[in-house]
């Protein structure tokens, strides 16, 4: 059990089946990492198509990203790839989750024309303080 807690332990069943004991958290992390990598592969494949041939359904788990601009879709794919590489080297998955949540939030804001215009507008006049 100590070996399993520290990483993994191999056990063999009576019928010869090899089993691996490992902390559940590690397996869950690998599953999440796998799902995210699959999502990234799907996104990269759709980004290889001309923009007029990209149906929302082709984006798979990242369908929400279809509302983003071309440049932002590519930036999301690059940032996700970088974050996954770091996470796969043994680091926490939380930065990847945070990145995806940030981009989902960005896509929601982008999808609303009034909010998008307001957030894009530069404020070149001095803003005034206001009591909330």
């Amino acid at each position: 059990m100590a070996e399993a807690r520290a990483g993994y332990a191999i056990v063999r069943d009576k019928d010869g089946t090899t089993l691996m004991l490992t902390p559940a958290a590690e397996v869950e992390k690998l599953r999440e990492l796998s799902d995210l990598a699959l999502g990234l592969a799907t996104l990269q494949r759709v980004l290889a198509r001309p923009s007029e041939q990209r149906a929302t359904a082709l984006y798979g788990a990242f369908a929400w990203a279809s509302v983003l601009s071309e440049a932002d879709q590519r930036q999301f794919a690059e940032e996700l790839a970088d974050a996954l590489l770091v996470a796969s080297s043994g680091a926490s998955l939380e930065p990847v989750r945070e990145l995806v949540r940030d981009w989902i939030t960005t896509a929601e804001a982008w999808a609303d024309p009034e909010t998008r215009d307001a957030l894009l507008a530069d404020e070149d006049k001095p803003l005034s303080s206001a009591a909330l």
Binding site: D102, E108, R116, L119, A121, E123
Partner: protein, 84 residues
């Protein structure tokens, strides 16, 4: 804002104390990315963030770390998806 005075007081306290802190509730504080990730305010390029006021309400803001000011850039008490 006057329709939700208690909520806005909580938000004011929250953003005034630590506008970049996600630890209390990572699912309610987000930094915008890409094109919306920064905003020019009075000649300064500042990161743009969003705080989820409630299930429907959102507030967007740009913290100026140098001047220790938080500029509120938009408040929406109704989530955009409700209109779809």
């Amino acid at each position: 804002m006057t329709a939700q005075p208690e909520m806005m007081q909580r938000v004011k306290a929250r953003l005034g104390k630590d506008p970049l802190d996600r630890s209390a509730n990572p699912r309610r504080v987000h930094r915008l990315r890409g094109t919306l990730g920064t905003k020019m305010i009075s000649g300064k390029v500042l990161d743009q963030w969003q705080f989820e006021l409630s299930s429907a309400g959102r507030i967007w803001y740009c913290p100026d770390r140098e001047d220790r000011v938080v500029w509120v850039t938009r408040v929406n008490l109704r989530h955009p998806r409700e209109t779809e």
